[in-house]
Symmetry: C2
Subunit: 223 residues, 2 copies
Amino acid sequence: MSGLAREDYLADIYRLQCENPHDPVSTGSVADRRGVTAASATAMFKRLARDHLILYRNYGGVSLTPEGEDLALGVVRRHRLVERFLADVLHIPWQQVDAYADQMEHALPDEVVDRMEALLENPYTCPHGYPIPDKHGHLSQPDLVLLRDLPVGEQVRVARVNERVPGLLRYVEDLGLMPGSLLEVSARNPVDLNVTIETGGRTHILGLRVSESIWVERTGSRG
Amino acid sequence: MSGLAREDYLADIYRLQCENPHDPVSTGSVADRRGVTAASATAMFKRLARDHLILYRNYGGVSLTPEGEDLALGVVRRHRLVERFLADVLHIPWQQVDAYADQMEHALPDEVVDRMEALLENPYTCPHGYPIPDKHGHLSQPDLVLLRDLPVGEQVRVARVNERVPGLLRYVEDLGLMPGSLLEVSARNPVDLNVTIETGGRTHILGLRVSESIWVERTGSRG
DNA sequence: AAAGAGTTTTAAGCGTGTCTAAAACGCTTG
DNA sequence: CAAGCGTTTTAGACACGCTTAAAACTCTTT
Ligand SMILES: [Mn+2]
Ligand SMILES: [Mn+2]
Ligand SMILES: [Mn+2]
Ligand SMILES: [Mn+2]
């Protein structure tokens, strides 16, 4: 009926589309993300296209139809709400909630999701800072800047940390850079692209890998 | 990997075994419970037997191996703990939690289950009164009596209500007979097997359908 | 002991979701 | 523009889990 793998494919297509809004989503990128072969992705594309959930042309990548996007947003909503629940109610470390939510997101009745949302007092984001779509698929899209691109001397708030970069969450936590933390870029090295930041009274030098995985929110205050 | 339907089959075999500890579990009973054809059950039996989770002889019914029982107890544990969670934390009516738990029970990582258990302060039973196996598969087996078989004049506590009898939970709730409620049988009709009970200052006459679906616990007090 | 009824298994088929290996495609480069 | 390379699709296969229809079995009843 609902289809188990379909939901993961749709949500991954959605996320890939968000990360790269200009290009169509390629077979290979979906296969990589899902951990399956390109042949498997192609087969799934045929089924999803047959059911009018994606647009698919041979060798031309895929995109979500409105119906497919609705379903994808539902999965993403469940995923991020469950992450919030696992972190806030069950106190599970934020490094683990993504994997757990990936398992649970397909088995949650709407009523359970809605009650969780109420219990959590309608959170705007998952523990990593990604927005949670509301019941109707709407989501807030705040103005965020990559830490990589932030000018020197402005105090900002950490808004989002890429949950899929291996080891990053643990590293970011050790540095005290969870969503909500305040920081300021005090220097940037134009050669190796390292950024020097001040946060919680300490100084850290972050490589590109890190600075391009953290989004910040301007606060309007000078450092 | 884990197998989705397998878990439901194992848990249903376990429950059928509990309900009727003498006979082996028949193909038809499992098929009925699962809502599939007998042919489907036979096919699943072959796979489960191949994987040493059940003993199966043609035309001879099935029984769980120790390994199969372990898995079954894990599913039952998750099922009943989730029911508790849904009822106590999310305040979902107890008529609905069985169906929801049936969906969720296959997608809960051990750590999530264990944390839920701690949050709930290690409950002994699900909201309907069925015991929750602990992490090692142990479960308390209290001395319960069917209301059908209870002698007149003894005050007892409702311990368990069969969650699979259609409409019963709603009916029992209206009568104020949730697990924990006190009642006393004031009369029994030997012809139609109705029992008359007193509870919460009111008198009700219960048919066999009801009285054979409610278990009670002796309190040692006379009414 | 044979017949009949009910249960169970077998046989054949279908959709999902995965794989490997081979063929087709498309883009870049000589 | 043709060669080559990386990507994508096709072809063929397999396990799971379900179905219907037919065959096989078991148990009861005459
Ligand atoms: Mn998932
Ligand atoms: Mn997240
Ligand atoms: Mn289930
Ligand atoms: Mn229950």
